[in-house]
């Protein structure tokens, strides 16, 4: 099966600081992987590299199972950021429709899919609220709904449960896993929450990777 993304000896430095050494990684459709590691181990940076948002300092990243056009590929990749990352000027519903509209989805379809996604994360009643009117947890649920509505082939989630209580955290992770399963895609989820990490069979531990590297 053609992998969605493959990293070959990818590494990155911030100035003189080496964030992580060479990583070889292949993500195939249908896989769900958790990335763990202490703070500063490079979890977020790795996800940004795999999303194609930043270039690795060393090695290479390719997306054989995704579009060669980076603009279309961006639409095939969905990201949940550590902070909720919503457009402050737009309502919750508009925030969810944003990536769909940017991909060329019609307004009616985008609104229908977004409404359904908001309902899935239990935020249907927040559709008209601005981000500043929402709590941290509500904002994160809207951000997750944005990924769910996108039906992306590759979902990269960076600490998506940081602002949520235990119950909601498990619920959001389940929703993300179901969404990628439905789309036939893959999920990479970075977390330092061992309980959440324990639910995944595939794990990439950046701490142990660092120890293994001389």
């Amino acid at each position: 099966m053609t992998p969605l993304v493959a990293a070959e000896s990818a590494g990155i430095d911030y100035g003189v600081t080496r964030v992580f050494e060479e990583i070889d990684l292949v993500i195939a459709p249908g896989t769900q992987t958790v990335i763990t590691g202490r703070s500063g181990s490079g979890k977020s940076t790795l996800l940004l590299i795999l999303a194609g948002l930043i270039e690795p300092s060393r090695g290479a990243v390719s997306w054989p199972g995704l579009s060669p056009d980076p603009r279309i590929r961006r639409g095939q990749i969905g990201m949940v950021f550590q902070a909720p990352s919503l457009m402050p000027e737009l309502s919750a519903l508009e925030n969810v429709t944003l990536p769909l509209r940017l991909r060329g989805t019609s307004l009616a379809t985008a609104w229908a899919d977004s409404g359904a996604a908001l309902a899935t994360v239990g935020a249907a009643d927040l559709a008209d609220s601005r981000p500043a009117q929402l709590s941290g947890g509500q904002q994160q649920r809207v951000a997750v709904a944005r990924v769910l509505a996108g039906r992306h082939l590759l979902v990269l989630a960076d600490e998506p449960t940081g602002a949520l209580d235990r119950e909601n955290a498990q619920q959001v992770v389940s929703q993300l896993r179901e969404a990628v399963t439905r789309a036939g895609g893959a999920l990479l989820l970075a977390t330092h929450d061992e309980e959440i990490a324990a639910g995944f069979t595939a794990r990439l531990d950046l701490d142990s990777l660092a120890q293994a590297t001389p």
Binding site: I12, Y14, S44, T45, L48, A51, L53, I54, R71, R74, G75, I77, M79, F81, Q82, A83, P84, S85, L86, M87, P88, E89, L90, S91, E94, T97, L98, P99, R101, L102, R103, G104, L107, R130, P131, A132, Q139
Partner: protein, 877 residues
């Protein structure tokens, strides 16, 4: 120590923001300093020019109780006295001549004894027209009355006998009314109608001519060193008047003083009011706007500052520490602004104002203090509000959206209230005839009717707030429904973002509108002023080139042929000039060829109230005995169109004044070469027929190259030795009715336009730049969500379009309204008053294009810069 560390950190890490704020302060400081220099320079210029126009500073008349020698000694002791000449004159019953075998006799005449070096000492008083400049000289009008030319003889008839003299030359006395003034009356009240008949003779001949029975007036004509006068015209006038009083005390009734210099300086003091008005109406809005722009630019750092304040709090800094750090930054910004602004102001003065103008110390100090205060107030108040808000955290700040509601002045309807007030004030001013500078009856000094300024003063904030209100209203209704549907576009989301940012867009549009309004109103006002100044010069000269014949030359309309051969000549028109009595008033009468006169004359429809130039000249052409009269004549003699009017003209071989019938056609207010008060315009053929002479006074020449054509005429097309004037050489010396020279307004408008353009660009460019920087996180997020550069650009361009379109439209409305009000309220500054405003379309279009281009460049470059999603920006999401 902590403060120094903070400042060092700012200089190291945020030099651009600091410099931008300092430059905005510098802009305001430079504007205040250069406007101050304008006020000082224009006052000083008025003093110098007023003093220079006075032909004789003092006419000290010796009384019967005084002695000429004693008074002369006292005058010589006066400080700053430069020169003094003794003048005597006496009135005699008549002058007689017998030219060409025909006896002529004038009425009463003045015989004046002038020293031989008088003309050299007081050059403005005498101008030689024909013959010698020394010896026995006749006034131009007297020579015409006696038909006397150099070499001819005439007789002075006195009670003691008759004395025959020979004419050596013919002269003009441009200031004869002042020369023959009744000394001792209230300032400015002594000037009288100049006598028609004057003979100037050397002092040695005087006694023998006038005889012992004539009453002789003895005067000392005095000039002072004007370089030592105070700059301020009123102060200079007071100094000269005090000096005159001192002399009167010294001579103890031995002399009366005709203080021409004091009178001229007093008048210049009222002219200075116009300079002050210009400062108030054109300069003050610019100053307010400069303050607003500086505040706007400094507030661009408010988002960053909010985070800094939150972080400082997180590290345990209390409010006093935060205020101290922000205060230090504000003082640093202000100091850099002042240090840059004062030299920038000096540069602006050097570039925009006439040479010799310089920064004034009090204004520079005020500008510096103002800049510092502005920097501290804007930044300090901002920080204080953040501290008092107690809610600002870094996390909360990320999702903070701008307020969407209107600010309190708009909620209170202040714009509409001010607009109604402006309309009412303007209507009242219009009702009063737009008299801003008024001279109450019986009061020698003028006063400014400051109430008349209320119209434009209220219209400025009213219209600016209205632009804010309408822009916010329009932006609040954006839905994106009418946008072109394109794949990947999200017009409804772009519109939603614009709706949320409508207050910021409206604020920028209001600033841009006010800046463009300032530029436009200044440009229209200046253009109208320049247009009228050109018309004024053209009216003074008569046309592009004027060939003024001497009275004795007798050149008729056939002289046109000779002049048509000169270089660059397009058309030539003869203008006959005579003197005529309307009742007891001696007036100038001009004869023209109505069908063709418009080819050379700078005529405007405003000069013939109730008609047009074409209509009035057409009527004159169809009515051989028709005349156009001044408003004063029509009013004083209760004349109406169609009335018969009997005018006395010199007719027949004896040149005696006889009645000639004319018919009134209408009113005329201005005419080429005519005086400002009363004159008559008639048909030249009829005038030549009834006077028996077709002698032309002036040939008016139309050309595209006035100086070259004038030189060509002087060199080889001037057989009669006429005076040749051209419009380009004369333009330097013409001043307006208000006493302001074109250079005064040019300097002010250069400062205004220069700073106005900078402020317009600052309002559009910096407001957009600030908005984009504020949305940096949203742009990075858009990039992370897969938005292309084009898609990100659409989110920004909608905001830019709203700001620029509403700002430019608002600017046009503000500019047009304020310009209209300025032209009306300051009618007194124009000479002649304009029929309508002159709009410099090319400049204004160029200005709007520059604003649009700069805005587009700012959006494009800063959009790319802001959306650059590096690792740190993406990790901050």
């Amino acid at each position: 120590m902590r403060t120094i560390g903070w400042i060092a950190g700012l200089l190291r890490r945020r030099p651009l923001e600091l410099l931008t704020a300092a430059v905005s302060v510098a802009l305001g400081v430079a504007l205040v300093a250069s406007l101050g220099a304008f006020v000082q320079q224009s006052h000083s210029e008025l003093t110098v020019r007023a003093a220079a126009t006075v032909p004789v500073d003092w006419q000290v008349q010796v009384t019967p109780q005084g002695s000429a020698a004693g008074v002369a000694k006292a005058v010589a002791a006066e400080p700053n006295a430069r020169a003094m000449k003794q003048v005597s004159y006496a009135k005699v019953p008549a002058l007689e001549s017998s030219a060409q075998g025909e006896a002529r006799q004038t009425g009463a005449a003045y015989v004046v004894a002038l020293p031989s070096d008088y003309a050299a000492t007081f050059p403005r008083e005498l101008r030689t027209l024909v013959g010698d400049s020394k010896g026995v000289l006749l006034l131009q009008q007297t020579a015409a009355n006696l038909a006397s030319t150099p070499g001819d003889s005439f007789v002075v008839a006195t009670a003691d006998g008759r004395k025959r003299l020979t004419t050596d030359g013919v002269v003009e006395m441009p200031y004869a009314d002042s020369f023959f003034q009744v000394v001792g009356l209230a300032p400015g009240a002594g000037a009288s109608a100049p006598p028609d008949n004057v003979v100037l003779v050397p002092p040695a001949m005087f006694d023998s001519i006038v005889g012992p029975s004539s009453t002789v007036v003895q005067q000392l004509h005095v000039s002072f060193r004007h370089g030592r006068l105070p700059n301020e015209p009123t102060a200079a006038a007071l100094q000269v008047q005090a000096q005159a009083k001192h002399l009167q005390v010294v001579v103890a009734g031995g002399a009366l003083i005709g203080d021409n210099l004091g009178t001229a300086l007093t008048a210049a003091g009222s002219d200075a009011r116009y300079a002050d008005l210009l400062f108030l109406l054109l300069g003050l809005p610019a100053l307010v706007l400069a303050g607003v722009v500086a505040a706007l630019v400094m507030s661009l750092r408010s988002t960053q500052r909010r985070r800094e304040v939150a972080l400082l709090r997180l590290r345990g800094a209390g409010s006093p520490v935060i205020l101290r750090l922000v205060g230090a930054e504000a003082i640093l910004t202000g100091c850099i602004g002042v240090l840059v602004g004062i030299p920038a102001g000096a540069l602006a003065v050097r570039t925009a104002l006439p040479s010799g103008a310089h920064l004034s110390l009090p204004w520079s100090i005020a500008a510096g203090l103002g800049g510092l205060t502005l920097a501290v107030a804007v930044q300090g108040v901002g920080a204080l509000r953040m501290i008092l808000a107690q809610r600002s955290t870094v996390a909360a700040d990320v999702l903070r959206t701008p307020r969407v509601g209107n600010p309190w002045p708009l909620r209170a309807g202040l714009d509409l209230i001010l607009l109604a007030g402006a309309a009412l004030a303007f209507a009242l001013t219009a009702h009063g005839g737009y008299n801003v500078v008024v001279a109450p009856e019986g009061v020698p000094l003028t006063q400014v009717n400051y109430g008349a300024l209320a119209g434009p003063a209220l219209a400025w904030p009213a219209l600016t707030l209205l632009v804010w209100r309408l822009t916010a209203w329009a932006m609040g209704r954006r839905t994106g429904r009418w946008s072109r549907a394109r794949p990947g576009s999200a017009p409804e989301l772009e519109a939603a973002a614009i709706r949320q940012r409508r207050r910021i867009i409206a604020r920028g549009a209001a600033g841009l509108g006010a800046s463009l309004g300032l530029v436009m109103s200044t440009a229209v006002f200046t253009s109208t002023y320049d247009q009228q100044a050109r018309v004024d010069v053209a009216l003074t000269v008569g046309s592009d080139v004027a060939v003024v014949q001497s009275p004795a030359s007798g050149v008729g309309p056939e002289g046109v042929k000779e002049l048509l051969g000169a270089q660059g000549v397009k058309a030539v028109e003869p203008l006959i000039h005579r003197f005529a009595y309307v009742g007891p008033d001696l007036q100038d009468i001009y004869g023209v060829q109505p069908a063709t006169f418009g080819r050379v004359a700078p005529l405007q429809d405003a000069f013939v109230p109730g008609s047009s130039v074409k209509g009035a000249l057409g009527k004159l052409g169809n009515t051989p005995d028709g005349v156009l009269l001044s408003a004063e004549t029509l009013h004083d003699y209760q004349l109406h169109p169609g009335d018969l009017i009997r005018i006395r003209l010199q007719t027949g071989a004896d040149r005696a004044y006889r009645q000639v019938d004319f018919h009134v056609l209408g009113q005329v207010t201005e005419w080429p070469t005519a005086p400002k008060d009363s004159f008559i315009v008639a048909n030249s053929d009829y005038l030549a027929h009834v006077t028996g002479s077709a002698a032309v006074g002036t040939f008016l020449v139309s050309t595209d190259t006035p100086a070259r054509t004038a030189a060509s005429i002087r060199a080889s097309h001037n057989p009669s030795g006429a005076q040749v004037q051209d419009i380009s050489s004369a333009s330097d010396s013409v001043t307006s009715a208000s006493g302001l020279a074109a250079t005064d307004l040019t300097g002010l408008s250069r400062i205004e336009l220069g700073f106005g353009v900078l402020m317009a660009l600052a309002c559009s460019g910096l407001a957009l730049f600030g908005g984009i920087i504020e949305r940096r996180r949203a742009l990075v997020l858009l990039a992370a969500l897969g938005a292309s550069a084009r898609q990100r650009g659409r989110f920004l361009s909608g905001e830019a379009q709203g700001l620029v379109v509403c700002g430019a439209a608002g600017g046009l409305v503000i500019g047009a309204t304020i310009a209209y009000m300025l032209v009306k309220v300051l009618t007194g500054i124009f000479d002649p008053p304009p029929a309508g405003a002159s709009i410099p379309w090319a400049f204004l279009s160029g200005m709007v294009v520059v604003v649009v281009v700069v805005s587009a460049v700012v959006v494009s470059l800063s959009g790319r810069l802001a959306a650059r999603a590096g690792p740190s920006e993406l990790r901050d999401l």
